[in-house]
Symmetry: D2
Subunit: 335 residues, 4 copies
């Protein structure tokens, strides 16, 4: 099948390669033409302009946009005038699903179908396959099944769930039509919200292991400091890289994230090259906002998000206010 | 190798079966003799009394205790008089590591070695193997390596971590000597603390998906109720069983817990047979307490724990106090 | 001074009474004319229609809207055609500040000034005075100073802050021009967000006191239940009404909310007439969303909000998922 | 009445002064004799040794210990040999209530009564009076009523709670016998736990106000950074000192802590002299542990505690693990 790809960055490039490998034909455009060159080596065709890209595709066309969420609308503004009724545009990036609802409605008036596809897999996707969460018109999804099949991991990506029989569902092959416009990015949003929570659970647990030797350190005794009541309970000098490796087999906390964590700690047991300023790329925020608007509790997902904010120093003024209050009522000075 | 097993319940029984299958010789005792019978069919020898159990083992002996944490001390009180210097006692249950420190010290005075072994794997361990986190005397651990090897999953339990070369470590085979007495249960404790956090992350995310259709429901408009500002953003009727199945392949949130979640939702998409009163068995509490005593933040792990308390109605009086306060200052009546 | 008041409910009615008492002249309109009658007894003039209301005021007019946030826009739609350039409209309810920004911009095109006034004080405001957080055009705020002064508590509402000298600021009198349009409701929003956090802090602490006798209760001993390690530490049967009364004097946690809590517990020590389904009226949600969008941590404010959601059973599906997971991996059945 | 005071620091000194002013007779001992001298000027008698202190008091004696919690046991070891049956020892510091239970039991064997008195009021107590939470033998508490009355604020410390009639209770005068040994410090512990929660609620809310201008700042647009969707909603440059002053009158969040916060911000609007490393002195930790052991949720109180840990950099290793994970799965580099 033929696909136009806009964006030849880390994600767009690797997805193109996976599609090419599966026998699909890809025309690729990037604002930076140099980014497309390596893909040409792998069998893609380069498009110098969006007009070229659209012109090079047989009708009805399918164009996949894989650019930062912040520039999707600008990309659409330039792309859409070249499209015709019956064409399909796919946003495979990390758009907010509100934007999907708006865009699909607006494009529908032009007869163009807009699909939103949440794409998980990161830099591993090229080899492992991408998990695809799809929202929008069911017929268009059906039409693009060969593309989704090629990008997704396939049923061999995991042992079959006991109880599932017969022909595999698309969910078992790694892609799913989740619902109407926005549904794909909604599910991807929640996926990332969960991801933040999982990561925070590991990070906090590992931090507890890391500090399990505090009983062996001396602590000052004064009115400002809580003495450790039973220092003999905190005299463990754990090898955290070994422990994460251990948990990979047979434990309840085994996961792909743990696999990566074990690898990170193997490469750098003290993680000294990281400063611990943790970014967030939007979905964690949107998941928390969705929980709030739905009126459902999300203690863990929000806490995971806030810990990232704190890691970047964003609690600072509040913390200083606490110190100021302690000074006011108790004359406590910071240590 | 020869092992005495005390406790023929779900865990003790399956561990015995796994050991027998690996060619080890097991003598089994249970306060309920009937529980031992099925194991005899599988090749174990039954011991009618603790004295029989100890008497039937060649010196130096190894006795594995697999009973509820609350009755380990009582079991030791009855067992220890039969033991001799050089014998090893293993507590493989969910003891608090404080107890391990105390017990190992006390038994050491008698020349008996006490090992604490955190055991993960649940009802799946018999087939998958058990992940073993071990604390105590290194020589005793060395001596029991054949037992640990047989119980653990082995290196085939997961793909090798990139960068690991040469002979596999015991961590790669699924067991690890984590440190001195208590270290095994400390690591198991944190493992379970993380487990609570992971489970809560999935549960919260899935709950957000479950309520994604609130925009399609009418809501009352009054001073007590927040109207949903953009109901058109919450009109998704997700198939959560399919979504969890989808995430098993290629996504960042793939894990063994997710595998089980997908299976649970396949069997019962609405989970109608559960009431949602979630138990906790101690380790989640102890992990939070350890974080507090070490002085490290554990927002996620604690929140996961508290959500379980809340699920059992334990926030009740506080909630009523909130309603009472709202009535006092605003005349607000509960809806 | 002359003021038109739309809304003769609990808040609008009491504010009118406070204005009348201060010598101001009030015309009052309510969709339910019967609601206005008691205010007429207190000296207000009744307006049968919005046209009457506007017609009865000398130019430039000032009209205060005190209706549920959900119907402010509809009220404005009916009111604005009667107004003229130079008139001032005040929204004193609990509007989302986003709406203020939109409305003030739209009304400005008609020469009408829109002020947003966050009003705190509840059913106590008539006697204590209302705390007024004001956003919008500074000149209009200046013009309405007599109204704000009459509604606010005045400097006698609290002892002067040490270090404040000379003529009192309006903040010391209980009203403040916080900034441009939306600033008043933004500050009121954060005020309510903090209120939720304060209430939750008290509620949780009181719940800890309430359960301080768990050591005197028997608990089952099984693999599913954590035994209380030191039951002798939890044998207190506290008189919580007395404790909250105690804390009102000399303690660090003394506050107006505590005053109300002490009163609530005096009236009903067991709070048996409350079910503990705690409503939230929007601002707590918006504060959390603002924190998320600003990228600052708000663990406490969000947790307080989520606890309200949980009190209404909104965690239910997630909790059932947790029970289902526990059953899958450990065969645990709910107790 | 006559009282021996051990400890002439900030708290012990000011309490002595308040007692002297009420006409009581105080003998004061401090490990640093120079600390006692200023109290002698105020009318106290100095004791050079503990033996002198005890010898100077008429039987049955009452000795109040006001020293850091970490040295109470050492103080008791030196003091008790001088005491006789019938004497009363009061620990007025911040002891863990577990220690009270142990100490009172041990001293009871010697016929000595041990009272635990949680004391709130900080550096303001001398003028405002101290809020006293008392645990232990009721007769001893009765005997010391004149001392408690003098230290406590008295009923004039707050307006009477509506519904309270007749002779005032001791709770209305600012002291309360809360229950058996440990009850005083248990209630003080929860008081401080609540205090942490209240402080965090204000700090978070104020931090949201402080960042309300993020829409006016430019933000980078890249795949790692979430763009602010509606920057026009975050263009407020709030005067936080004025807002906290405003809230002191008529608002729902008025409190003594807010009074202090307004003062702190008046003195230093940017709080530039604070670094925001917030100490915790034990009770917040113990409250969270009590909640966990009782099995009741305490999301807010724990989060407040953890935020203090984070302010001191204790999340560091966990944060670096998060950055390491992000690098592993997405190739994300820290910004």
């Amino acid at each position: 099948m033929q696909l136009g790809m806009i964006g030849a960055g880390r994600m767009g490039g690797d997805m193109t390669r996976r599609l090419l490998k599966a026998g699909h034909q890809c025309l690729v455009y990037d604002v930076n033409p140099a980014a497309v060159e390596p893909l040409v080596t792998d069998g893609a065709q380069a498009a110098r302009t969006l007009s070229d890209l659209v012109g090079g595709l047989a009708k009805p066309r399918a164009v996949w946009i894989m650019v930062p969420a912040a520039v999707v609308d600008a990309t659409l503004d330039q792309l859409v005038p070249h499209l015709e009724p019956g064409d399909i545009v796919i946003d495979g990036g990390n758009s907010y699903y509100h934007d999907d609802i708006r865009r699909s409605k607006s494009l529908k008036e032009k007869g163009i179908v807009y699909l939103d596809v949440g794409t998980s897999g990161g830099i591993w996707g090229r080899a492992r396959g991408y998990c695809l969460m799809i929202g929008g018109d069911p017929e268009a999804v059906e039409r693009l099944t060969p593309i989704f099949s090629a990008l997704a991991p396939g049923i061999e990506g995991a042992p079959r769930t006991p109880g599932r029989v017969g022909k595999e569902s698309t969910s078992e092959r790694g892609f799913l039509h989740c619902g109407p416009s926005g549904a794909g990015h909604f599910v991807k949003m929640v996926h990332n919200g969960i991801e933040y929570g999982l990561m925070a659970a590991y990070a906090e647990g590992i931090n507890v292991l890391r500090h399990a030797n505090v009983g062996a350190e001396g602590r000052a005794v004064n009115a400002e400091t809580t003495p450790l009541r039973e220092p003999e309970h905190y005299r463990y000098d754990f090898d955290i890289a070994e422990i994460t490796e251990l948990w990979r087999r047979g434990s309840v906390v085994a996961s792909w994230l743990l696999d990566l964590g074990a690898q990170a700690l193997l490469e750098s047991p003290d993680l000294a090259e990281f400063r611990g300023r943790v970014s967030d790329s939007g979905e964690g925020r949107w998941t928390a906002i969705a929980a709030i608007e739905e009126g459902v509790p999300a203690h863990v997902l929000s806490a995971a998000l806030y810990e990232r904010f704190s890691s970047r120093g964003e609690a600072d003024f509040g913390d200083r206010f606490l110190s100021a209050l302690r000074y006011q009522f108790g004359g406590h000075r910071e240590t």
